[in-house]
Assembly symmetry: C2
């Protein structure tokens, strides 16, 4: 069900880069249990006859917040060139006060893992999955109005955020125009994927019954479940660095590649950073 | 006097970007009182017939270390295009244990201000001026050998680092092929420049006698002192954002512009980010 309640968005900061407006907003999030959350947008240069810009949601990885892609990627140049509005949300709720949320870098604050928690006490605040799907687009519309067209939306992300993007796109066919990912966590419920198993166990539960729900947040399992169905996208771009120290231990792109091959979903390789195992 | 002692350099990390090698090194610095210091280089793609790359030293601003420009600027693309080796040192010694060095963001750790301190107890470790001038090039040579030509060296920087670059270039005519700066602190000894006055007072002393030495680390005063001498460079590029909240209160580029006009030194304006007050 789409989010329909009105959202009051506050502008936190604004600067210029490559003719774009780089703006940070905050709002009180219903999906995150009434906590304030922040997001960044990079808006392409406006002109009187500019069409509303389509939206590309970028989901960041573990330890990040809404600032990382904005500060580090030089994305404004591409935003200006392609007239796309980049939207970067946070990676978790902040200040939930849940047990253990600030004890490690790979769980809790900075590590929402783009799931809707079902366990106590996390389920009240740790609902980044439906936050991104339903509430964030409404906030973007409230903030930017007719400058953007949130109905034309694509999604991408890095590492944990690449996982989030793939899962979002595969669970909601038709919602996103494209999906891509940079070094995504492709098979988080696989026994060897420490990051996924830790967060899924704490947010979703770890008994036999709970583990059945993990596949719903796992890109490889979601892809395998599409056996016999038409491909969701003409192609999916996955870009990985082949010398990434987490490649086999946590990211497992070959698992996703194999799943795509089984169900007939095309996957693009990218050579940026070296030879890609995805062909 | 140039640094001549041998320096043992250790490789800390290495990655690839746009065909460049992004490498972090550490060594024990004599000029910083025996403390370990780290620096980053971005080396352009090598080929069998590649000429040794000239060096561009980039000095970072307050609160930064050797990682900021590497992570945030997307500089590898330009390094590859122009076959220049970018070298990014730290902004201060780390772990000197001097009083107050970790109490504020604008003094001490992360805020060496590119001076050689003369006050106790800072003078043992806080010598970033001669560190950059003498010791860093030797360390770069030790790390990279014939891949680079440190005799062909230029210098640039941001904010406090722009100050450091301008001062380094004006104090050592002939040492650097070019100097430029992004939003530099142009007149740090001016009474209104809180950042400069604070650091100069603590590193150089604050009585009437000590204050006479401040001009030797002040780009505007150094330029004025060149009255009647030939211009040091064909031109100096200063790039500032005209909506920078620190423009008039701390950076004061118009002071440097006026000084250049008085002594006949050309200054380039840059329009990146908006209209520039430097014409």
């Amino acid at each position: 069900m789409a989010e329909t309640r009105a959202i009051d968005v506050t502008e936190v900061s604004r600067s210029k880069a490559f003719g774009c407006d780089v703006v940070r907003f905050s709002f009180i999030s219903h999906r995150l249990g009434g906590l304030e959350t922040k997001f960044h947008v990079i808006l392409p240069p406006s002109s009187d006859d500019a069409r509303p810009a389509p939206v590309l949601i970028y989901l960041s990885g573990l330890t990040c917040d809404d600032t990382n892609i904005i500060q580090k990627a030089g994305a404004a140049r591409a935003v200006a060139a392609h007239n796309i509005c980049l939207v970067a949300p946070d990676t978790s709720p902040r200040g939930a006060g849940a047990p253990g949320e600030d004890d490690s870098w790979d769980f809790g604050t900075g590590a929402g893992f783009y799931v809707d928690a079902v366990t106590e006490p996390y389920k009240r605040h740790y609902c980044m999955y439906s936050f991104v799907r339903d509430e964030l687009p409404v906030a973007v519309s409230a903030a930017l109005g007719e400058r953007v067209d949130v109905a034309r939306c694509s999604i991408t992300g890095h590492s944990m955020g690449g996982h989030g993007a793939l899962v979002a796109a595969l669970r909601s066919p038709g919602k996103y125009r494209s999906v891509s990912a940079f070094s995504p966590i492709c098979h988080p419920s696989a026994p060897g994927c420490g990051w996924g198993v830790k967060c899924f166990g704490l947010y979703l539960g770890d008994d036999a019954e709970a583990r059945k729900t993990w596949a719903g947040y796992d890109a490889t399992e979601l892809m395998l479940a599409r056996h016999g169905m038409p491909a969701v996208f003409p192609s999916i771009l996955i870009d990985v660095g082949t010398s990434d120290t987490f490649l086999e231990s946590q990211l497992m792109p070959s698992h996703f590649q194999d799943a795509c091959a089984k169900v007939g979903q095309a996957v693009c390789e990218s050579l940026a950073g070296g030879r890609s195992p995805l062909r």
